[in-house]
Structure formats: structure tokens, C-alpha cells
Symmetry: C2
Subunit: 85 residues, 2 copies
């Protein structure tokens, strides 16, 4: 079953692109490339940031970025970046 | 400057391949693909696992996998998977 809607994900991910790039190729080598990454892994990583299972300065920033997104939003965003080459 | 030695990384990463695959393409969609991932990001992720900045069952397993590796090992392993297509 489709994991999320990539078209919706692109709209819901305005702030991600500042670090992860328009199509998921990171603007800086200390951030991960997420183009073509597994959607369920991306979703779980974002959940880990939301629930504090990842610590550290970048983790705090990610938690803030994701604070207003629900699970469906996260699945759409995951589907978007996962679908990028 | 080269971040690590991919040839050495391949030898030092015998257990990684069981989940991340021979060349970094995960055997299961809930694990990340790490082929072509940014080496410094991979290194920092492994350090986060070592120092407990990542929580959860998979994080505990990763911490155990990485427990006997030093920073140079991690840089070599990061270089190996980062160099894979």
C-alpha cells in the first residue's frame, strides 16, 4: 500500500529543503542525504526526533521543525524524499 | 583530506552488512540505505549510537555493534559505505 503521498509531502516539507536540499541531497556533508532513502526508515527517524529518542543540538532543531506535523504529514514527507533520485 | 579509508572500512564492517547490505542497500525497508551517504554524517550517527544519543531497540543493537570500534574504524567504515553507489 502506498506509504504516503509524495505530492503532498513536497508541499508539507517547506523547511526541510533548507538543510536536506530541494530533492534530498544535503546542502552540507554533516547532514544526511535523504533522496531515495527508505520511506519507513525516514518516517521512524522523524518520529524518533518528535519523541526525543534522538539527542543533541541537531536533534533539538529537528524536533522543533517537526513539532506541528502529524503522522500522515510525516508519511507524505517521507514518501516525497524517498521518491527523489 | 580523505575522511577515512574505504578499503579498511570494508574489512572493519563485517557485521554491518547483515542489515545494511554488502554495499549499503538495506536488506529491509525499516533500515536506512547508507550507500553514497555523507561520510561525516555516517560517522556522527555512529558516534551518537556509541554515546547513547539515540534511543530505542535498534539503537541499543547499534550501540552493541559499534562498542569495540574506535573513531578511526568508524571513519573507515563511513568512507566505505559513502563510496558505494
Amino acid at each position: 500500500e502506498p506509504f504516503g503521498d509524495p505530492q503532498l509531502g513536497k508541499i508539507k516539507a517547506p523547511s526541510c529543503v533548507f538543510c536536506h536540499g530541494q530533492t534530498g541531497i544535503a546542502v552540507n556533508p554533516s547532514y544526511p542525504n535523504i533522496n531515495g532513502q527508505n520511506a519507513s526508515y525516514l518516517f521512524q527517524s522523524m518520529k524518533d526526533y518528535q519523541n526525543g529518542d534522538r539527542k543533541g543540538p541537531l536533534a533539538e532543531m529537528m524536533k522543533a521543525q517537526l513539532s506541528r506535523l502529524n503522522d500522515e504529514d510525516l508519511k507524505d514527507i517521507a514518501a516525497y524524499f524517498s521518491s527523489q533520485k
